[in-house]
């Protein structure tokens, strides 16, 4: 059994990331994104049969799907929470497809969003042992720096094993910023960035510099997945799910086989195998980018280059929308912003825009197949999606 071509992404809604949410709550932002996605799809609340919601850091009580459905006037026959950290949005897309294939409903609204004040984000975490993560007992007494120290350990190890350089990592942030400068919705729109800017920015967690690290902000995104047989797009191109994969392991950075290999290896292999395509067929790679090193390792683990060759790969290729290997044409989370788990949705919404030919100034000349990755924790939860343009 395969999901290939059976479900389509028929609607997207995304709020412009902001540092000032203006008193709005995460649930309000989520509902607004859901409304925009329904308008984009031309669907009414009655036509939405399922709701998938990801947790938000700022507002995560029980029964989120119920509350979101209530806000949007939906009475779903399928409602659930998807928690894969940063990979939640990508995980929602194939779960929505699986629910549709199982006959639970025809249409699923997938929502992510959060309200994060960068200062409060760091202050609020000071000295906390987040519940549910037993390993904090063995980490917090030694003074970690949230995710920053985890990805710094990964980057340092990758440098040791493969000779990856700070300049190679900085190139990723620079190319993404170039893309963001063609995306007025990006948090860092209008702020050019050079490799020397990155390397002279604060060394927050050696070897990672400030501009290699995402900016927490506020926002939300929604993606509507529907039964492909019921899609009527009146001659417009539409987007189907061609393949997917998921792999989850290791809640710690110390108890895992290798710091430089992620579970994306298995997730991407499953996605490409089920889709019947190869990495070389991909026109656009939307790679989860909480840190520059996460992109570099994902390019290796998804099979775009050999393990250890990520540094050379990003040097040899132009990752901008004008380049030979476009990555994160919206600017990625590094330059678009990371509104909590909606940051991981931005890779999907951008892939859909590019596949539909709606990416404006940054539109790729050819975009028939997009690879999307989602990554949660410190490369602990990985999801791969292959989205395809289908012309009616």
């Amino acid at each position: 059994m395969t999901i290939r071509g059976k479900v389509a992404v028929v609607g997207i809604g995304e709020l412009k990331p902001t540092r000032s949410p203006g008193g709005r709550t995460a649930i309000e932002l989520m509902a607004e994104a859901g409304r925009l996605a329904m308008l984009d799809a031309g669907l009414t609340p009655k036509e939405i049969g399922g709701v998938l919601v990801a947790p938000s850091v700022s507002w995560s009580p029980l029964e989120m799907p119920l509350v979101v459905a209530d806000c949007l006037g939906i009475s779903p026959s399928y409602a659930d929470v998807t928690d894969l950290g940063g990979a939640s949005a990508a995980g929602q897309v194939w779960r929505a497809g699986a629910a549709i294939a199982a006959g639970a409903c025809d249409t699923v609204l997938c929502i992510t969003g959060d309200v994060l004040d960068p200062k409060a984000f760091y202050e609020g975490q000071k000295g906390k042992n987040p519940p549910g993560l037993p390993v904090r007992e063995f980490e917090t007494p030694y003074g970690p720096m949230l995710m920053n120290s985890g990805y710094a350990l990964v980057a340092r190890r990758h440098m040791f094993e493969y000779g990856t350089t700070p300049e190679q990592l900085a190139k990723i942030a620079v190319d993404e910023r170039f893309n963001a400068n063609s995306n007025p919705d990006a948090l860092f729109y209008g702020k050019p960035l050079s490799i020397s800017d990155v390397l002279s920015s604060e060394l927050v967690a050696d070897p990672l510099h400030l501009f290699e690290i995402v900016m927490p902000c506020s926002g939300a995104a929604a993606i509507i997945v529907a039964d492909a047989r019921k899609v009527t797009q009146q001659g417009k191109p539409w987007v189907t799910l061609r393949g997917f994969g998921e792999s989850v392991r290791s809640s710690t950075v110390f108890d895992r086989p290798s710091l430089t290999h992620s579970p994306l290896v298995a997730a991407a292999e499953h996605a490409f195998t089920t889709a019947g395509v190869r990495p070389s067929d991909v026109d656009l790679a939307c790679i989860y980018d909480c840190y520059t090193i996460a992109v570099l390792i994902a390019l290796e683990d998804a099979g775009f280059c050999a393990k250890g060759r990520g540094g050379a790969f990003v040097t040899d290729h132009d990752l901008t929308y004008r380049g030979d290997f476009p990555v994160n044409t919206h600017g990625g989370q590094l330059s678009f912003g990371q509104p909590g788990l909606a940051g991981g949705a931005s890779h999907i919404t951008e892939a859909v825009r590019q596949l539909r030919g709606q990416a404006g100034q940054r539109q790729l000349r050819t975009c028939d197949l997009a690879f999307v990755s989602g990554n949660g924790g410190v490369m602990s939860e990985e999801v791969a999606l292959l989205l395809e343009r289908v012309d009616a």
């Binding site: 007494p141 003074g143 040791f160």
Partner: protein, 140 residues
């Protein structure tokens, strides 16, 4: 040993599961669980082996010798009490017997730390009840 009231950093809160690990550190020993089926050490502490699901894990002493598997130098701490420590080395140490731990490498200038550096355990009695497992460079 520092005065308990003077120690402001977060302390571990041992559980019935992790108590043998922390108790051993207070005696300046490194003890971890060992699975005789899988022939390997397991860390962090578990109720059963995640490899074979058997419950007969034994606490066994390790040498306390190892090497730096990876590290970062933290210049802007986000954990309370660490402000005056910065810059400090936050690292993963790989013990000779296999398991890895999160730790601080001390008695080492940040510019001198390297992946692969040989290290040995330092038992830092931070309060009368708590000893942390840190490491310092040894050998070449």
């Amino acid at each position: 040993m520092k005065d308990v009231r003077g120690y402001e950093k977060p302390l571990p809160h041992p559980t019935s599961l992790s108590k043998p690990f922390w108790d051993a550190l207070r005696q300046h020993k490194v003890l971890m669980q060992y699975c005789p089926q899988c022939l390997k050490f397991i860390f962090y502490p578990r109720r059963f082996c995640p490899g074979c699901l058997k419950e007969d894990l034994h606490w066994r002493q390790l040498s306390g010798k190892g090497r730096v598997y990876s590290y970062t130098v933290i210049r802007r701490p986000s954990v309370r009490g660490f402000e005056s420590e910065a810059p400090y080395i936050f690292a993963v140490a790989e013990l000779d017997e296999g398991p890895r731990v999160i730790t601080n490498v001390i008695d080492c200038l940040p510019q001198n730390i390297r992946v692969g550096q040989l290290v040995e355990a330092v038992f830092e009695d931070v309060t009368p009840d708590t000893t942390l497992l840190k490491f310092r460079p040894i050998g070449p």
